[in-house]
Amino acid sequence: MADVISNEDGQMMLLTGLLVVIGVVIYTALLNDIILTANMPSTGVDISKQDIKDLRSLTESDIKKAAYYSNTNLSMSENEKNNYFLTYINSYNNTIQKMYSARGASVDVVLNNVTLNRATTNITIKYYDGKVGYDDTFIVYYP
């Protein structure tokens, strides 16, 4: 009996077991953190998306509005209507540029081809916020 008590080999085995358990706990915690981080939705990335979406829809709707204001003013000649349309879009472009620059993004609305009588406008919108760049050319149709 005395010989069994004095034999300390078992202590080493127990200690090794304890160290293995600690290792497994650390490994599990790390793995859990990695999985959590990998599946975490990132905030902030969507800001650019929302900004671009806003810019596109606002530009499209306001070009239609500008065309409506130009075309419904019957006292104006075709040339005056064109000038009115261009002045309107110029004011819109200046204001939207300032609004976006206050948030650290640069935008530009370029009119490529305006045919008021054929009810189409070909435009290019540009967006850049230092990380995300977006450039799109499309045609706006209006009645």
Binding site: I26, M40, T43, Y69, S91, I96
Partner: protein, 185 residues
Amino acid sequence: MIRNENAQLYTVEGIASAMLLVLVVIFVVKAAPMTPNTSSAAHQYLAAQLETQGQDLLIILDYTPEGSLNSPLKQAILDWRGVQFEGQSPVRPQSVNYTASILKEVMGDAGIAYNLELSFDTHTGVATYGMLWNGKPSDNAVTVSRKIILHDDDGVVATDKIPDMDSNATRFYNIVDVRLTLWRM
């Protein structure tokens, strides 16, 4: 004396105990300061959820129902008299009050504090005014925004605050960036 290896065992035991203690301390430190206002990586999911909620609410408020001229949000901007309403103070006029009550119902009653600010271009640069103010946001606050275009025929009331950026050359008036800041209380 040289062949006695007991000290080695004691040393390894000591290291194991120290590791256990360090693990417990790390666990406690990571778990303890989790309050709703703590800004941490673990709250990214909640922040994303809050952002989606806020963006959805602005989209709904900016929907123009059939038969109406403007959306409730645009009407509130048009009728706003340039006054900042703080906390639970009575909100006037009716359209601004409607927006305030929707925000209170959706966000306030769910334990989410909010500030609604209007940002627009002026002749001296971009200006920002508070419309509904509930205090300084916490570190984990999120801001969502929606832009509203105003025209001359919309009839802006606070013309001293929101200027016409087109000087009556066309019917373009200004663009208002509605910014909703949300945070958990």
